[in-house]
């Protein structure tokens, strides 16, 4: 530890920000030291993103001051932020797939020769240096569109680093990554911190925060609840700070007897999959599916639902059904909650009601004319049953928090009376409180005799809630565990395709 690490590079003092009707931030103090990894934790809507957007010059604060290296600065635009050495890597990957790795890394600062053309040799050389620093074995000439999500994430870090930042902000960088890629990314972040870059790391995942950060600041309702040294705090304390209440039962126990087979899948071969797979699902069962990024889980379930082409035999309640498109799957009693709730799940400009009713409109219509009252009643019922927090059924889903958006998509399938629910990473990117509610809902569905396929890349929740877990690796099932036998180690072994220890 050198002295530098105790001196703050960035101080935000009494930051306030109001939006119409919402106090997004009030009196927020935040400081960041040289070479530290400072985690920012809080439920969705706690104010993390607003704080970061103020730091990045996207929003102007309504009050407060920002000091950088003890100097007061006014960050009035993203350009100013970049000039001041603040680099922000946003959650959605802002990358240009059609350009090469080098183009993306050196975006806006291509080396230019005297004749005014881009000096390609120097560009590739500089990009190569950057890639080496990141430990990334990639050609700078590769087109970014052909890279995996993890590699794109690293290219974005490279882009941020090429501007020699003093402060690096990462907003949930691992939400789209598998466990192995996360390890790799963490190595890179730690090395950067050792070189003196101050990192603000935003995440919902406590594991990551404990592995990575030196300090952690918890935000709730736009206020700072507290800052702790990471090695002096506990999960329980952080969760308590986040939600303001004890979460005794993160994974609620269910007493459900598992019934007869509701779904049987025989030799399902999704397009571009290496091998056919077979499995079955029972009434009242939560069937977990675990696998790392690229293991083929999404390809499997979207093939099962007819969203992508697949061949094979599917039996629902013992009767064969032909599923060529999602329409057929819906009619067969299947419901699918996709990973990307904003682009695949919801019609964002539509209201809560519009989204809830989307898959079941004809049953609330007479001769194709909508029965408004019946629809409103049904919507209100789901809003209450699923505890969807909104101003009413007419609020657009764009303004809902992630957890509530997810509940709307789930509600759509309950409204459509699906018997088999395929949930693809339903808790990804939503806060702890909302996660618990989703787990509870899954339990309720089982109690009603529905079957749930629960795809996830987070081990604790799978171990906590699934009755049975199938592990995928390279498009094949490499392990099947009852809840009682499953451990993190066994699942991970199966997921990376190694023999499972006893």
């Amino acid at each position: 530890m050198n002295l530098d690490s105790e001196r703050p590079i960035l101080e935000m003092r009494a930051i306030a920000k109001n939006f119409p009707g919402v106090r997004a931030l009030s009196n927020v103090d935040f400081d960041l030291r040289h070479g530290e990894i400072h985690a920012l934790l809080g439920e969705n809507g706690a104010g993390k993103s607003t704080l970061i957007k103020i730091l990045g010059g996207v929003y102007a604060p309504d009050g407060g001051e920002i000091h950088l290296e003890s100097e007061t600065v006014a960050i009035d635009s993203p350009v100013t932020a970049t000039r001041l050495g603040i680099a922000i890597i946003h959650q959605d990957l802002n990358i240009i797939p059609g350009l090469t790795v080098a183009d993306n890394i050196l975006l806006g600062q291509h080396p230019v020769s005297r004749s005014g053309f881009i000096n390609e040799n120097r560009m590739y050389a500089r990009a190569q240096d950057m890639l080496q620093e990141l430990g990334l074995h990639l050609s700078p000439q590769t087109r970014v569109g052909t890279l995996s999500t993890a590699a794109r994430q690293l290219v974005l870090i490279g882009q941020a680093l090429s501007r020699a930042p003093r402060v690096l902000v990462m907003d949930e960088p691992t939400s789209a990554l598998g466990d192995a890629d996360i390890e790799y990314l963490f190595g890179v972040i730690k090395r950067l911190a050792e070189k003196g870059v101050a990192v603000i790391y935003i995440s919902h995942k406590l594991d990551e925060i404990f592995e990575l950060s030196t300090r952690v600041t918890v935000l709730r309702d736009g206020k700072v609840i507290g800052t702790r040294m990471t090695n002096e705090t506990t999960r329980e304390e952080l969760i308590k700070m986040m939600v303001g209440r004890e979460l005794k039962e993160m994974y609620p126990k269910r007493q459900v007897t598992i019934g007869e087979t509701i779904l049987e899948v025989r030799d399902l071969l999704p397009e571009a999959a290496p091998a056919p797979v077979s499995f079955s699902l029972h009434k009242g069962e939560i069937l977990g599916m675990f696998g790392l990024l690229g293991s083929g889980r999404t390809r499997l379930v979207s093939g099962l639902f007819g969203a992508t082409p697949a061949s094979g035999q599917i039996l629902v309640d013992g009767r064969e059904v032909k599923i060529h498109q999602p329409l057929d799957a819906r009619r067969a009693g299947l419901g699918y909650l996709p990973t990307e709730r904003k682009t695949e799940g919801l019609v964002l400009p539509l209201s809560v009601q519009g989204n809830l009713m989307l898959a079941n409109m004809p049953s609330h219509a007479r001769l194709s004319w909508m029965q408004d009252q019946a629809m409103a009643k049904a919507s209100d019922r789901w809003i209450e049953a699923l505890r969807i927090v909104c101003t009413g059924r007419n609020q657009t889903t764009r303004n809902l928090s992630g957890g509530n958006q997810q509940k709307v998509v789930l509600g759509r399938w309950l409204e459509a009376q699906s018997k088999i629910l395929i949930l693809n990473s339903p808790t990804q990117g939503i806060d702890v409180g909302a996660k618990v509610e989703i787990y509870n809902l899954m339990g309720q569905l089982c109690a009603e005799g529905k079957g749930v396929i629960f795809v996830s890349s987070e081990l604790p929740e799978l171990l906590g809630i699934a009755d049975r877990i199938l592990v995928m690796c390279d498009g094949r099932f490499t392990g099947e565990f009852a809840r009682a036998q499953a451990t993190q180690e066994k699942l991970m072994h199966a997921a990376i395709g190694e023999a499972v220890p006893d």
């Binding site: 939006f19 119409p20 929003y59 102007a60 604060p61 309504d62 009050g63 006014a74 009035d76 639902f305 969203a307 498109q325 999602p326 329409l327 799957a329 819906r330 009619r331 699918y336 996709p338 682009t343 695949e344 799940g345 919801l346 019609v347 964002l348 400009p349 539509l350 519009g354 989307l358 898959a359 409109m361 004809p362 219509a365 194709s368 004319w369 909508m370 408004d372 657009t396 759509r412 459509a416």
Partner: protein, 328 residues
């Protein structure tokens, strides 16, 4: 300072922004009122009943066609073939009349022709996954060419009273029939878009087609239906036009698709889909019609009228960008 500016902008946006109850309509109503005041001050003839009815009649045909384009735009598509379909609809109607059939058969023939072109448009866009702009441009050219072939380059006149009455007649000797058709069309379309499942799907599919497909909707089939409606309303407009003129021509309604799309976009329909209203479209068409009429009253040359119409459209698009939160 910055914070104050941002707060003022936020307040303005709350009053006039997309999520306010006034929506985009308020700016249009204000524009309309300003235009009426200015034109009334500059020309004594502007605010007379006869002239107002003139405006209404001049926008009736474009207004009817704009209903179909509104549906297609909100659903996330675009139809550039509507002007050609108008010519085709007129041709189909006059051909049937000249073959000795009554006017309602002619009407049915026109709508059927429009529906067929819409079916082809929608089929190509959904099944072959071709960009709708290119598809409908190409189909529009083909249809326009066929209309020239069908008329042989001549003007096919019709003098049947029952036929021309629709375009030229007036109810109680006062209100032109096309204006009544316009009103009925808008009431029906408004109710359909807001109360019918099909109308709901227009907004849903335009808002996010992928999510709709994953919700188990037959997105492709519905999009074909929307393009067919686009064709049907275009042919309907073409029918009224030919009955007004008393003839069909290969070059009927040439270039009208730009006026129609201008009106629809001015009315607040999003080119990205998912947003727009029938009332907005009516106001958009009304603003353009009033502008043209007022400029004619003021003896502004048709060249400068084009400049003015283009400017209004540009301002509308800029306003739209600002309302939805900036130009980024």
């Amino acid at each position: 300072m910055l914070a104050e500016q941002a707060a003022t902008g936020e307040r303005l946006r709350r009053l006039f922004g997309k999520n306010s109850p006034m929506g985009g309509s308020l700016t249009l109503i204000i524009t309309l009122v300003i235009m009426i005041v200015v034109f009334t001050a500059m020309s004594p003839y502007f605010l007379q009943v006869e002239n107002l009815l003139n405006i209404a009649r001049s926008i009736a045909i474009i207004g009817i066609v704009a209903v179909g384009e509104t549906i297609v735009l909100i659903s996330g598509g675009i139809d550039m073939s509507i002007a050609a379909v108008m010519a085709l609809g007129g041709l189909a109607a006059t051909a049937v009349i000249r073959a000795g059939q009554p006017f309602y058969v002619a009407f049915a023939a026109a709508l059927a022709a429009g529906a067929l072109v819409g079916f082809i448009n929608g089929g190509i866009v959904t099944r072959l996954h071709i960009n709708p702009l290119i598809t409908t441009l190409a189909i529009g050219q083909i249809v326009r060419g066929l209309a020239y072939v069908g008329t042989g380059g001549y003007t096919l006149t019709v003098a049947l009273r029952g036929y021309t009455d629709l375009g030229r007649g007036r109810l109680f000797g006062l209100i032109p029939y096309p204006v009544i058709l316009l009103a009925v069309t808008y009431v029906v379309a408004h109710i359909w878009l807001n109360r019918n499942i099909g109308g709901r799907y227009v907004y849903s599919i335009g808002g996010n087609a992928l999510a709709c497909r994953l919700a188990g909707l037959d997105v492709d089939r519905w999009r074909i239906v929307f393009y067919m409606l686009g064709g049907i309303f275009a042919a309907f407009g073409g029918y009224v036009l030919s009955s007004l003129v008393g003839a069909s021509m290969g070059n009927a309604a040439l270039g009208v698709e730009l006026d129609v799309i201008s009106g629809v976009v001015l009315g607040g329909a999003s080119l990205a889909g998912g947003e727009g209203t029938i009332i907005g479209t009516l106001l958009g068409v009304l603003v353009l019609g009033t502008l043209t009429n007022g400029l004619i009253m003021l003896n502004v040359s048709s060249f400068w009228q084009m400049v003015a119409r283009g400017s209004v459209l540009l301002i509308a698009v800029l306003l739209d960008a600002w309302r939805s939160g900036g130009y980024r």
